[in-house]
């Protein structure tokens, strides 16, 4: 894409967002909606600015949880995928339970994590990892199957061992799939963090939403939601950046 085209690609969504915010502002002003049910964008901005220290302190806590949970999900997800692909028996035994693990209602299981580990960071990290690891495993397993069988045969004629087939064949071929999974997992991990904090936390942006809800401080709640979205977008962007740096060949195609 040319530099000009890239700028043009940004103009439309930003213009749309400004239009949307403008309409929102006008609607709230003219229809005289009470601030406690729907604050205007300017009210949200000023409420957020007033509570900026509170928001930023709690944002750092939530960001820390998300990064830890996401990292744990990557490690567990990739190791599980490798185990599943290494043996038919493990695949048959484990794969159905992965699906079952996603049927467990997360808000219901989060308090149990709290009972196990206490009222600290650990249950939150576990909840985030629980919701984020699934798309990682599923995509990594698909990816590890994706290598061209003819290529693997060719590597075998060169005397490649099983380990070498994985390292030089199946694993690199799986990376584009893995990154697709990571992008979905990035979005899910923010949702997981909010859930986890609702259930078992006295800090973080998710917890702050509950507190603000009790105080009917709707404007600041909206500011928190905005921050949470920003965190999700940031994590997604980080994954996309890593993909660009680690898979230059994938973009060159």
């Amino acid at each position: 894409m040319s530099g000009n085209g890239r700028i043009r690609a940004w103009v439309a969504p930003i213009a749309f967002a400004l239009l949307f915010l403008g309409a929102w502002q006008l609607y709230v002003g003219f229809a005289d909606v009470p601030e406690s049910s729907l604050p205007s964008p300017t009210e949200i901005a000023s409420a957020g600015w007033e509570s900026r220290d509170l928001l930023i302190d709690n944002a750092w806590i939530t960001i820390g949880e998300i990064l830890l949970g996401f990292a744990l999900a990557i490690v567990v997800g990739v190791l599980l995928a490798l185990a599943i692909r290494s043996s038919r028996t493990i695949e048959r035994a484990v794969y159905p339970w992965l699906v079952v693990s996603q049927m467990v209602p997360v808000p219901a299981i989060a308090p149990i994590f709290v009972i196990w580990t206490g009222f600290d960071l650990r249950p939150r990290v576990m909840v985030i990892a629980l919701v984020a690891f699934f798309p990682i495993v599923v995509n990594a397993v698909d990816g590890l199957r994706a290598a061209d069988p003819a290529l693997l045969r060719l590597l075998r004629t060169m005397g490649a061992t099983r380990r070498q087939l994985l390292r030089h064949g199946s694993f690199p071929a799986s990376l584009p799939f893995l990154f697709s999974g990571l992008k979905v997992a990035a979005a899910l991990s923010v949702i997981g963090a909010v859930f986890a904090e609702w259930v078992g936390s006295s800090e973080g942006l998710g917890h702050l939403i509950l507190v603000l809800n009790n105080a009917t401080d709707t404007a600041t709640m909206f500011a928190v939601i905005f921050l949470l979205s920003l965190i999700g977008i940031g994590l997604f962007g980080l994954v996309a950046l890593a993909e660009r740096l680690l898979l230059p060949w994938y973009r060159a195609r």
């Binding site: 061209d148 003819a150 290529l151 045969r153 060719l154 590597l155 075998r156 004629t157 060169m158 005397g159 490649a160 070498q164 030089h168 064949g169 690199p172 071929a173 990376l175 898979l247 230059p248 060949w249 994938y250 060159a252 195609r253």
Partner: protein, 260 residues
């Protein structure tokens, strides 16, 4: 005197029936074939004559139902016989240089040493200046030259080439044929070259082995008594070339006519 580097005796490959109660499929039967050291042998035959099955057996990728394959050196087949298929099978995540270097790397050289070996050959294979290109960025001919270099760098004395130039346009193909012969003459490799193109078989081979299908057998072979070096546009106009070509084409055409 030249010694056999690869010997197949009584080779047969039968596949189990595709469905229960069906009949077994005999892909190959009674193949006796010997490649001498430094020889370039072409194999020709209509599609479905079991050429690819034969190469899989010779490369060690598949086990024969009967008979045996042995290297003159006594080494196991996997890792000692280089194989080059029609699809270039370049790894999209490796640059041209790193694709070429995969053989030495699998043998245990560090990536640095493997790259050095590949870099030293880039010029000879017409890949100078393309070391860092991705496979998706280069032409089909260049991709196949990379694949040929990768095959060469496996350092195997025996090379099996399965219609490697079949998908290339005529000019690129001629260029690849000339490069292959040059490489073969300079390095003393023993090459088995599968093709369905009679002219290609004659242009390259010391002898041409003709196969027939159902089951795949060796029908006959022709010694190609054309002097080397052979040149495209020259050799193929010589009366002897045309004579050999006719002799090979006639039964092939009859075979194609019999194909349902």
């Amino acid at each position: 005197m030249a010694e056999p580097v690869l010997t197949a005796s009584g080779l047969a490959r039968t596949y189990p029936p595709a469905r229960a109660g069906g009949e077994e499929v005999a892909a190959l039967a009674g193949i006796d074939l010997q490649i001498m050291s430094g020889e370039l042998v072409s194999i020709i035959g209509p599609s479905g004559c079991g050429k690819s099955t034969l190469l899989n057996l010779l490369a060690g990728l598949d086990e024969p139902t009967a008979g045996s394959v042995a290297l003159g050196s006594g080494s196991p087949l996997l890792g000692s016989v280089a194989y080059m298929p029609q699809a270039d099978l370049l790894m999209p995540w490796r640059t041209v240089l790193d694709n070429a270097a995969v053989g030495p790397q699998l043998r245990g050289l560090s990536i640095g040493e493997a790259r050095e070996r590949a870099r030293a050959e880039l010029l000879r294979f017409g890949l100078d200046g393309f070391a860092d290109a991705w496979p998706s960025q280069i032409s089909g001919g260049m991709r196949q030259r990379t694949a040929l270099l990768r095959t060469f760098l496996t350092d195997c004395d025996v090379m099996l080439l399965d219609e490697p130039f079949g998908a290339l346009d005529a000019l690129t193909r001629q260029d690849m044929q000339e490069r292959l012969v040059e490489l073969w003459a300079a390095e003393g490799k023993s090459i088995l070259f599968v093709t369905h193109d009679v002219e290609e078989a004659l242009f390259l081979g010391d002898r041409v082995v003709r196969m027939t299908p159902r089951p795949g057998r060796i029908a006959d072979e022709v010694a190609v008594d054309l002097p080397r070096p052979r040149a495209a546009g020259v050799t193929d106009l010589e009366p002897r070339f045309i004579e050999l070509k006719r002799a090979l084409e006639e039964p092939l055409r009859a075979e194609e006519a019999r194909t349902p």
